[in-house]
Symmetry: C2
Subunit: 381 residues, 2 copies
């Protein structure tokens, strides 16, 4: 298997850009990534996206490639709901690991502001099971509320403890120029914010976001030529769980995340203890808590409690979500997995323009649905 | 690059299955493909699909894997409009060529009967450019009508000559037990059928279809163990063109198809002249005519005329679309590219249950949009 390196990264600010098209957002991230590596023409473009169909647009690979001046190369869109970025990265990684190509661009892009909020929220629920779940009228926040209530009850986690995560994420995002929510909040603010789906309150949830992030991957031989600071993609693991929650083993587990991490750790030859910095999928505070546990960063039932006790900040190992995470950097769903990879690559290179975590080994974890699919990526300096 | 083999294939009948769910159709094709290779558990599932979002369902990889008893493996959905099957195959091929996996299932599935015809037709137009084309109200048939009119005018092709393709496809489909349209038609029938978008008539166009097709891919070492008749995937090429027609070089060209074929021929070390049997993307009769030209089976402007003169039937080289093609086998859009691969693999194995083309080397060509993306696959016995 050929080794794969990150030789260029780029991203747009995350926010709501009513006046910008999806292809325009994508091109901004692409041009930044290509510019970092001498503007080499990639041989393929893999696009991570979930919901462009809400704006009646499919066939994004040709649309974006053409707009970015890349007509004629190979490409396709990859979808795994909110985990689309992660699986797009796996597809792109594989195209270089196989030797089919030597330079592959992978881009995550989402424009959720294209439609009114109720339509977009409904679209996000397409990550769940239409026949077994949506037919009953439950929303995506509602599904996560079931998990949050179960988790709090099973492990005796208080509302205050659950609120520590969004507070930390807003703190981190304050220093990230690409973040969507730049506002300091307190535990009290979280507890007073409106209920979305009891016990999930507004500040427990990630916002609706637009944004694009791009990574140029290259073979080992090319990487040395194209970059002074290539980042090695040491491991990529992916796993699927059931789409619907009824069929799950237990509601406080994210088994796909655990399996995907095991595969990535094995490929990279590292363990949980080696990770210096991580960007994890905190679509909801409870998603962060359980993810910390499945990745081995916290004992079972202790994820939220450790955050409340002050863990995972700079100086700790690992530093988790120095970007502000999905919660405050924002969650442009199909792009999120690529944002995480861009951010961790920059942390390892030492040029992330927000909180600097430093370190040698980084991890990203990206989920689709309520953990129906999971991708873990291990990066090394 | 590791060699890749087809060790199992399966497909459902193509039709309108109002009483069957998308996961049920997928599982039928999957079980047939896995059964052919000793029911080995694949390590990943790649799903080609375009329009499940019309039924509010994304995250198909987890949905289908779980229903088929494959929870825990890796997977994702790949989309490139009507060319989704072809690009899903490229992604799956790459996962084995890289050595990441040794057994990968690739499945194309589509259920267009989920919504009323006007909603589905609108969805099919998401393959085009929403901002530059759909905003003007043009349909997908309308875009192809522009191409057909231009092609007929530029090369002096008559309405009768254009009608020879659907007649041949209906003839071929009569012998294919998996085909949707089992009815002999004449050139007169085509010319009397209702106008959809002048000059495209109903019988010039492929029907709306449901169906699923699956292929189990394996590494060379495993292929010998799992199958007595492994088919070698000798070449896979893919290329992107502009999504919108306005930006095209010329309306009578499908340059992405030409480029994708060049890449596939080069990888396989064969030329047009070596192809014994082909399944090509005849979404409309004119798509077939231009595809025959871009693949080198006909001189420019002669594709439709050669069909009218009796070429591409059994005994000729190549035999084209012995299945009946998109026109009469049916066109379950995201599944079509995988149907083609299943059919050509069976032709080379000698067990296709319809018209037997025989031969040593086969080709499939799958398009997304009006040729916005193209995938060419070369199979060898």
């Amino acid at each position: 298997m050929n080794k794969v390196y990150i030789v260029g990264v780029g991203m747009t600010k995350v926010g709501k850009f009513y006046d910008r098209s999806i292809r325009e957002l994508a091109a901004e991230a692409i041009f930044k990534a290509l510019d970092e590596a001498g503007n080499e023409r990639p041989e393929a473009i893999i696009v991570g996206n979930m919901l462009s169909s809400l704006a009646e647009q499919e066939n994004l690979a040709s649309l974006i490639a053409d707009y970015a001046g890349l007509r004629g190369i190979s490409g396709f869109k990859v979808e795994g709901a909110c985990g689309s970025g992660g699986v797009a990265f796996l597809a792109a990684y594989s195209l270089i690991a196989s030797g089919i190509f030597k330079k592959v661009l992978v881009i995550g892009v989402e424009k959720l502001s294209e439609r009114p909020t109720p339509a977009t929220s409904r679209g996000l629920a397409w990550a769940a099971d239409a026949d077994y779940e949506l037919v009953h009228g439950i929303s995506f926040a509602g599904l996560n509320a079931l998990v949050m209530r179960y988790y709090m009850n099973k492990y005796g986690v208080s509302r205050e403890e659950m609120a520590a995560w969004p507070v930390l994420m807003h703190d981190n995002a304050l220093q990230n120029p690409y973040a969507q929510l730049k506002k300091k909040i307190t535990i009290e603010d979280v507890l007073k914010s409106p209920v979305i789906a009891d016990p999930v309150r507004l500040y427990d949830a990630s916002p609706l976001s637009d944004g694009a992030a791009a990574v140029l991957l290259a073979s080992e031989e090319l990487a040395r030529k194209l970059s002074d600071t290539p980042i090695h993609v040491a491991g990529v693991g992916n796993a699927l769980d059931s789409t619907d929650l009824t069929s799950r083993y237990e509601l406080d587990r994210l088994l796909a995340s655990k399996l995907s991490a095991e595969k990535a750790f094995q490929m990279a030859g590292v363990t949980t203890e080696d990770i210096d910095v991580a960007e994890i999928h905190d679509a909801y505070g409870v998603t962060a808590a359980i993810s910390l546990e499945e990745l081995g960063f916290a004992p079972r039932g202790k994820g939220a409690k450790l955050v409340y006790e002050g863990r995972f900040r700079v100086g700790d190992k690992p530093v988790v979500n120095p970007s502000g995470g999905l919660k405050a950097r924002g969650h442009p769903v199909g792009a999120t997995g690529i944002y995480q990879i861009v951010e961790v690559a920059m942390q390892l290179r030492g040029d992330f323009p927000g909180i600097k975590a430093g370190g040698e080994v980084g991890l990203t974890q990206n989920l689709g649905g309520v953990g129906a699919n999971a991708t873990t990526v291990i990066l090394k300096r």
